[in-house]
């Protein structure tokens, strides 16, 4: 017949302490990884060169500089219609976003 012997029971408080430490360590590790990842992302992002088209390779400027020399009305009309003035200030939104 088994008799109850409290000395044979594992120490309850130690087990509980061990169990509660596990998730805590996991959370700390995850947080540390997130922070390191975030810092790495910020560092990479800040070191990336921002592309700003130089006048030499700006397609909008290039297209504006190209037109016929003919004085026929059809040719003039075609060039007038091909003059796209809506995108001249393209990039302003990106600048505004940078300044936010």
């Amino acid at each position: 017949m088994d008799t109850f012997n409290p000395n044979q029971m594992p120490p309850m408080s130690a087990t509980l302490e061990k169990k509660s430490m596990g998730p805590l360590i996991a959370v700390i590790i995850i947080l540390a990884l997130i922070i390191i990842g975030g810092l790495y992302f910020l560092k990479t992002r800040s070191s990336q060169p921002i592309y700003i088209p130089s006048p030499a390779n700006d397609t909008i400027t290039e297209s504006l500089n190209t037109q016929s020399t003919s004085d026929s009305l059809n040719s003039i009309e075609a060039d007038l219609n091909a003059t796209d003035l809506n995108n001249l200030d393209q990039g302003a939104a990106a600048i505004e976003a940078t300044l936010q």
Binding site: P55, Q67, S75, D79, D89, G91, A92, I95, L99
Partner: protein
């Protein structure tokens, strides 16, 4: 009792230099912490300044690009105006009434000049006083307004040139039918 007194004096003599050493060490650590703090502060300030400089450079380059585009647009409109002038002269030589077209050309050239003035009015660089992104944002608001105004003026000049061509069309059609 005498022995006790002697022991006390001896202990005091031994402890005094240690206390003084501890004090010096404490002072040194304090100085080191202060120096470290100052160094971090300078480093943060330097990074902030670099970030602000980069943004400023980007804004300046953007505005310069836009001005270049606007100047290219004006140059295009002026060339188109020259070609239209040439066409008007030829049609006039063919006895086509180009009075209205000529009037519109005067208007178009005036609008081109207005657009040029607007482009010249664009602030091409963020001032050195704008030392924070908030200040730069305020300056960029003003620049953006100037940029939008110039764009509208260019569009207006372009629209008048389109009107001139529209006005010349019936005369051109008449000439083509006659020939």
């Amino acid at each position: 009792m005498k022995n006790k007194m002697l022991l006390l004096v001896l202990v005091s003599l031994l402890a005094l230099p240690n206390l003084s050493f501890a004090e010096t060490k404490k002072e040194t650590i304090k100085d080191e912490i202060e120096a470290k703090r100052e160094s971090i502060k300078n480093s943060v300030e330097e990074r902030r300044q670099n970030a602000v400089d980069k943004i400023k450079e980007r804004v300046d380059q953007f505005v310069q690009n836009v001005v270049n585009r606007y100047e290219a647009a004006i140059s295009r409109l002026e060339k188109l105006a020259d070609r239209i002038d040439s066409r008007i002269a030829k049609m006039e030589a063919d006895k086509i009434d180009v009075t209205k077209a000529k009037e519109l050309m005067v208007k178009a050239k005036a609008k081109i000049e207005i657009a040029k003035t607007s482009i010249n009015g664009i602030t091409t660089t963020i001032s050195t006083n704008a030392t924070t992104t908030a200040l730069m944002k305020e300056e960029f608001k003003i620049i953006k307004t100037q940029v939008e105004k110039a764009k509208e003026d260019i569009k207006t000049a372009h629209a008048v040139l389109v009107d001139v061509v529209k006005n010349l069309k019936p005369g051109q059609n008449k000439l083509e039918t006659e020939n």
